[in-house]
Every structure is written in structure tokens, then in C-alpha cells.
């Protein structure tokens, strides 16, 4: 404010001085008599400019620091967070195989993102997909792109988004655990990232995206950190994959309990902590919005632990560790689209509802239909993400984030019922794209390479059959 006043004053002074000298017939500053006043004004102006630069640099330093840390946190969610969480849930003979599926995404999607999918997601194109002019990260330098984040280098934005692109296909692996060929998985998830993730990310977050609430999309949907883009797409694709591939040999008669709830526990805690990068980092700055998202994330997770645990305690008689950590993940999934839009108390409600809802999805609905979604990717991510998107439509509040303009009602409880319709539309679109796209890709990969491991390979286990290794060697 003060800087502005000084600038206006200086501008006024210069106008007088220059205007005066023009009227008197003189043309340049050189003709002005050098006096202590003009020297001081020049010095002040120079300092004002330097201050403005320093302030911008300070802003960038704060925001960029947080964003780089957030990117690292989200990567940690994949490795080892998800790798351990999923790994502990499978049988011993498949531990390495399961972890390798997530780890492969960390490597492959990184390169794919640079070569193609960043451009498809975030360069300008049409309402459904971006263009190709950012391929090979062309034009993605250290200067900010104000369309996305004005205070951080575009490369920071790119690398942050990359971590989302990595974990999303990794989530799907939970549905086809213990029975997909490593080679087929690589091809399948690469195609999935191009055909399903990139367009979805573009529609919700990209310039001109159909569902983009911040950039004038036709059907503005609120998805703060990727409830729809990440969890609905991966969860629904997971269900499709589980149905297409069929059940594991022996399922459901042969007992297949987790071989290490201990490792899953460690993974789940890493997911929880990492999720602060996922949600609070989606503020794309280190300001108060990041705080809102951070706080909402914590409350959503904790409330969901309680929701799932209480439901399980009542229904089964004992609160299990696996249930508690599953509840946490369910809550984190549900709060993901809502994080930067809801109050802390609303976050608690969202978490509680999600905990109970996902618990029932996993223990009741799954057995009704009998599909083998081995690690409940659909039950937790698909269902939790869908629920979260709809609850965002209910609980979003302009007091937390005036996304539609200052004072304009955002969610249902604030008086705007239209948002809920848009949320449903966005979710419906994600479901559709995921189902259709995944079926096509699965069909193609299956007919060319073959998706499922042979019966013998499935019995020996993925560690040996796909990777020639044993996760646990008792003989040494």
C-alpha cells in the first residue's frame, strides 16, 4: 500500500517536472537542473523497483519451497507409501511383484510425462485435451505460467503434477494384484495414462478444461486435489480391470490374508503424511489456502479412522489395525476433492461418512457382487472418491475459498444446489471415460500381449515368475 502511494507521488512529481520542461521547450532529463530533490527521487524510485523485485522473490521462495516439498511428499506416497500398503496386503510370494508395479510407475510415468502427457494435460488445446506444444517439456522453463501459478516456476508445477500422474495408475494395481504380467501392466498403464488420466486432468485442471472451475470451464466442478481426476478414475478402472481379468485362482475359497499388516501399516502412515503434500500442495502456494487444505486433510483422515473402526467394532466385535488404516486412507480419499473448499468441522463430517461408507463397500457390497478387487482399489478409491466429490458439492463454502467470486454461494449448504449437479456430472464423466477407455485398452493389450499370468506363474508367485527373485529368503 505504502509502495503504491510512493509510486503515485513519484509519478505525479515526474509528470510535473517533465510536463514543465516540455512546456518550456526542453526535451530530456539531461536538461533538468540537477538538484538534491531529483537525485533523491531517482534513488527512491530505484529502491521501490528493487523492493518490488525482492518482494516477488520472497513470495516465490516461500511458495516454491513448499511446492517442492509437496512434490517430494506426493512421490513418497507412491514409494514407499503405496508400495508398502499394497505389498503388505498380498501373499508373501507376490510382495516384490506388487511393489515393482508401483515403482515401475515412478520411473515410466516420469519419462512419459516429460515426453507427452504433461503437454496433453496442461498445455492449451480444447475443452477435453491439451495440445502437443509442451511435448518434451518445450516451453516449460523456470518462469511462472500465471494461468496455473503466478509465483512458482512452471517446472515446479510440472514436477508436482507429475507425482499425481505417477500415483494414479499405481492405485489401479490394487485391483489386479497377484495376477497380471509385468510387461502387460507396463503397456496397459502407459496407455491408461495417455488416454484416461491426461484428458481427465486437462478437463478438471487444464487451461480451457470442460470442468475447470478456476479457468471458466462450462461445467465448473470443484476438485481441489484430484478426487475425481485421481481416485474416481483409478478406482473405477480398477473395478473394470478386476472384472475383466477375473478372480485369482482359488478366490474366494482359499484363504489369502495379508502377509504383513505391519508393512501395510507403515505404508498407510506414509500415505497419511504424504497426503499433506497431495492436498495442501494443491493450493499451489504456501499461503492460507494451503493451511485450510492441510487442516481439512488431517480432520478428514482422523474422522474416517473413527468411522471405519466404530463400524467394524460394532459389526465384527473387534477393531482391527487393518480396518483403522483402511479407514484413514478412505478419509483421505474423500477429503481430497474437498480439502481447499471446506471448513475443518465439515472435514470431520466428510471423514466420518467416508469411513463408514467405504467400510460397508468393502465388507458388504464387494461380497454381494463377488468381484475380486484384491486390494479394494474400487471400494476405497473409486467409491470414496465418488462420495468425496458429491460431499464437496454439499459442504464447499465460499468463506474458505471464494472460488466462484467473493460472497457467491459455493456448495449446497451455502445455498447453491447447482454445484452438486456439476459434481455429479463430473463424476459421471469420469466413470464413463474410465469404463470405456479401460475396456478398450484391456482388450487391445490382452489380444496382443496377454494380460494375465499363466496358472503356473500365478501359483509360484509374481516375485519368482515375473522378476526371478524372492522377497523373503529364509535360507540366508
Amino acid at each position: 500500500m505504502r509502495i503504491r502511494v510512493v509510486k503515485v507521488f513519484l509519478a505525479f512529481l515526474f509528470t510535473l517536472i517533465f510536463g514543465g520542461s516540455v512546456l518550456c521547450g526542453s526535451t530530456a532529463m539531461a536538461q533538468l537542473p540537477s538538484s538534491p530533490q531529483t537525485d533523491r527521487i531517482a534513488a527512491l524510485e530505484k529502491r521501490a523497483d528493487e523492493n518490488a523485485t525482492a518482494i516477488a522473490a520472497a513470495q516465490t521462495a516461500g511458495d516454491n519451497g513448499w511446492m517442492l516439498v509437496s512434490a517430494a511428499l506426493v512421490l513418497m506416497m507412491s514409494g514407499p507409501g503405496l508400495a508398502l500398503f499394497y505389498g503388505g496386503l498380498v501373499r508373501k510370494k507376490n510382495m516384490l511383484g506388487t511393489m515393482m508395479q508401483t515403482f515401475a510407475m515412478m520411473a515410466v510415468i516420469t519419462i512419459l510425462w516429460a515426453i507427452l502427457t504433461y503437454s496433453l494435460a496442461f498445455s492449451s488445446g480444447n475443452a477435453f485435451i491439451g495440445g502437443l506444444h509442451n511435448m518434451f517439456l518445450h516451453g516449460v522453463g523456470l518462469a511462472p505460467d500465471p494461468a496455473y501459478a503466478a509465483t512458482i516456476p512452471l517446472q515446479t508445477f510440472m514436477v508436482y503434477q507429475m507425482m499425481f500422474a505417477i500415483i494414479t495408475p499405481a492405485l489401479i494395481t490394487g485391483a489386479f494384484a497377484e495376477r497380471m504380467k509385468f510387461s502387460a501392466m507396463l503397456v496397459y498403464l502407459t496407455l491408461w495414462s495417455i488416454i484416461i488420466y491426461s484428458p481427465m486432468a486437462h478437463m478438471v485442471w487444464g487451461k480451457g478444461g470442460l470442468l475447470n472451475a478456476t479457468a471458466g470451464g462450462r461445467f465448473a466442478c470443484l476438485d481441489f486435489a484430484g478426487g475425481t481426476v485421481v481416485h474416481v478414475t483409478s478406482g473405477v478402472s480398477a473395478l473394470v480391470t478386476a472384472l475383466y481379468l477375473g478372480k485369482r485362482i482359488g478366490y474366494p475359497k482359499v484363504p489369502m490374508p495379508p502377509h504383513s499388516v505391519v508393512l501395510s501399516f507403515v505404508g498407510a502412515c506414509m500415505l497419511w503424511v504424504g497426503w499433506f503434500g497431495f492436498n495442501a500442495g494443491s493450493a499451489l502456494s504456501a499461503g492460507t489456502l494451503a493451511t485450510s487444505a492441510f487442516v481439512a486433510t488431517q480432520f478428514g483422515a482422523a474422522a474416517a479412522v473413527i468411522g471405519w473402526t466404530v463400524a467394524e467394532w460394532i459389526r465384527q466385535g473387534k477393531p482391527s489395525a487393518l480396518g483403522a488404516i483402511s479407514g484413514a486412507v478412505a478419509g483421505l480419499v474423500a477429503i481430497t476433492p474437498a480439502a481447499g473448499f471446506v471448513s475443518p468441522m465439515s472435514a470431520i463430517w466428510i471423514g466420518l461418512i467416508a469411513g463408514v461408507f467405504c467400510y460397508l463397500m468393502v465388507v458388504k457390497v464387494k461380497s454381494w457382487f463377488g468381484y475380486d478387487d484384491s486390494l479394494d482399489a474400487f471400494g476405497v478409491h473409486g467409491a470414496g472418491g465418488t462420495l468425496g466429490a458429491l460431499l464437496t458439492g454439499i459442504f464447499a463454502n465460499s468463506a474458505i475459498n471464494p472460488i466462484f467470486g467473493a460472497g457467491k454461494a459455493t456448495g449446497l449448504l451455502e445455498g447453491n444446489w447447482r454445484l452438486l449437479l456439476h459434481q455429479a456430472f463430473g463424476v459421471g464423466l469420469a466413470w464413463t471415460i474410465s469404463i470405456v477407455g479401460t475396456l478398450i485398452i484391456l482388450f487391445i493389450v490382452d489380444k496382443t500381449i496377454g494380460l494375465r499370468v499363466s496358472e503356473e506363474d500365478e501359483r509360484i508367485g509374481l516375485d519368482l515368475s515375473q522378476h526371478g527373485e524372492e522377497g523373503y529368503d529364509w535360507a540366508h
Binding site: P252, P255, P257, P258, V261, Q316, K318, S320, L322, G323, S326, Y359, V362, V363, K364, K366, S367, D376
Partner: protein, 112 residues
């Protein structure tokens, strides 16, 4: 020479080992095992699925003793391992044809 195979509760391992060392048994092999006799198992729950677990954790001791030490060894084990409830375990005795010390080829009772 007689071989003693004893399947006992894992919580009794230390007591049994100490008792055997006390009566002069000089070596034994201990393995983690799972099994059951008349003991029923229990159910575990993972994500809503019920699993009946009837392979319970046990410890198996194997040792070979001179004939004169056999009765003492059996008594040592039963006294240390007994709780009085189902699941205490079992002891099996068999005759050993020979024993060889790998280090120096000693045979028979000298190898024990």
C-alpha cells in the same frame, strides 16, 4: 541313543531349554512350527473376510540323548512345558541308528 521330538507352546521354550541344559543335554535343534492336536483354532478378520486359522504357532525341539539320559530329559520337558490345558504339546521318542560329529568324524555316543 534316542531322539526326542517335542512340540511345545512357544511361550514355554525358554523354560524347557533351561531345564534340559540343567540335566546335561548338550545340544538341540529348535524350529518354529505350526500345528494342532485337539486344540481348536481361531478366526481372524481382514477387511471383512473371515479366515479360520487352525495352524497354531508352536515350537519343535529335537535332541538326541544317551539312553541313560532319556527319562530325565522327558521329565525335564514335561515339567517345564506343562500348563494343564489343551495345546501343551507332545513328545515323540525314536531310536537313532548313529550320530556323527562333522568337525572330526567322531561317532556314536561320543558325537552327542
Amino acid at each position: 541313543m534316542q531322539k526326542i521330538e517335542a512340540v511345545i507352546q512357544p511361550s514355554k521354550l525358554d523354560a524347557v531349554k533351561d531345564a534340559l541344559v540343567e540335566i546335561g543335554a548338550e545340544g538341540m535343534t529348535i524350529t518354529e512350527a505350526r500345528g494342532h492336536g485337539r486344540q481348536k483354532g481361531h478366526t481372524e478378520f481382514y477387511r471383512g473376510r473371515e479366515y479360520s486359522v487352525d495352524l497354531l504357532p508352536k515350537v519343535k525341539l529335537e535332541l538326541v540323548v544317551k539312553d541313560e539320559l532319556l527319562d530325565k530329559a522327558i521329565t525335564a520337558i514335561t515339567t517345564a512345558a506343562r500348563t494343564g490345558t489343551i495345546g501343551d504339546g507332545k513328545i515323540f521318542i525314536s531310536k537313532i541308528d548313529d550320530a556323527i560329529r562333522i568337525r572330526n568324524d567322531e561317532r556314536g555316543e561320543f558325537a552327542l
